[in-house]
Symmetry: C2
Subunit: 264 residues, 2 copies
Amino acid sequence: MTKNTEPGAQSGTIRLFALPDFPEVQNGDDISLFLLDSLEKAGIALQAGDLIAIAHKVISKAEGRMVNLDEVEPSLKAQEVAATTDKDPRLVELILTESQEISRMRKGALIVRHRLGFTSANAGIDRSNVSQDTSGEWVVLLPVDPDASAARISQEILDRAGVSVGIVIVDSHGRPFRLGTVGVAIGVHGIPALWDRRGESDRYGYVLKHTEVGTADEIAAASSLLMGQAAEGQPAVLIRGLELPPIPGKASDLIRSRDMDLYR
Amino acid sequence: MTKNTEPGAQSGTIRLFALPDFPEVQNGDDISLFLLDSLEKAGIALQAGDLIAIAHKVISKAEGRMVNLDEVEPSLKAQEVAATTDKDPRLVELILTESQEISRMRKGALIVRHRLGFTSANAGIDRSNVSQDTSGEWVVLLPVDPDASAARISQEILDRAGVSVGIVIVDSHGRPFRLGTVGVAIGVHGIPALWDRRGESDRYGYVLKHTEVGTADEIAAASSLLMGQAAEGQPAVLIRGLELPPIPGKASDLIRSRDMDLYR
């Protein structure tokens, strides 16, 4: 390996670093401080153009989005849906509260359109990677406004470290047509979420007609490879070397409206 | 940057290198030789555990999957569909030949279930990044059997370089619910395509119930960030440092059967 050893030193090289020893997050914790501490311990100085991808769960926890199921009173509607789907009525109550509408349901499955616009199982609520105690069974909801969370974290990092970094907040979604969850962007700041490349020419001069790239989702998927789903405990990933245009984006740019959705 | 400078030196770091100066591919070209030449020129020696992601188009071209539209005779069915979708009847003829069925169509859009099982626009056929000449208008179909292509390339690299590498063949697909194309895996060899993590414990000891990860699709999406869609001309990406279980996979593992598809 004689070349490409300096991170970001040239076009065509991307590096993803899982930030080591990221601490356990509690309600009220300062995520940008945790990110900067972890980077410092790893000996990494932020550079312009760096991105940080963060698993939504640590944002949710810092924002106090944990709910004790013992304190949830399921509505009649939630009890009906719970009976159909064979799910905990208290969990279903939370799912419905977080959703615009039920997309599909059957035994074992509840797919909804989340209030944030995307379609996912259980409105992104689950109990994996949530510390449990004797007070009840805890679950975590998605952040209230993940784009705003991403913007706040980016601003705090700028204030404290003097570097403007892009932020992508990541959830894992199941998909129509294809098996397996993949990381998707539910919060974005400082990068294009959807990169419109129509009008650019390919290498033979042919003008692209249809290419809009889900850039933030590709970043989320890449980061998800390092975050893992199980015991890795690596909720934050630094991405260096990715060259993107300075187009501000937000996660809602990636939502396909129903009347434009010929794929369904 | 004092740490993480040796590629793959530790867990938690992934590096993606776009192979430089990848040559123009013609019918009959030897892709594994091109890959090894490009790596050698870049001064990169393959290591066990390396993956190579390849844009499907260079595989298709090497396998002679270019078609001159002037030589295509559209059927009556193709002419009908072309009228509905406002597409070239010769292109529609090829799309139908490559498809199991039409999923949805309207003016400007033709979504099909490809003979390989996935659902995509225009059966993956387009004319971007295809060299044109005066003999007609050329388009490129997907490889006949991308899993077999991936296996063959991996075997040839093993024979020539003595290193076993995983291969992912990448296409860009539009998606239901979300805007923007993302890289997906249409050919896989030597890595899990779908990584079943059910039964593993999270960091608090909670046993995961539902987590099957679309690992090969996440790799395809990550690689797609470097391949670009326009003039970059970087169709091959080396991925180093990703730790995966030694589970052989194939792209068809990622196809969700219709009766299990509650997301649609």
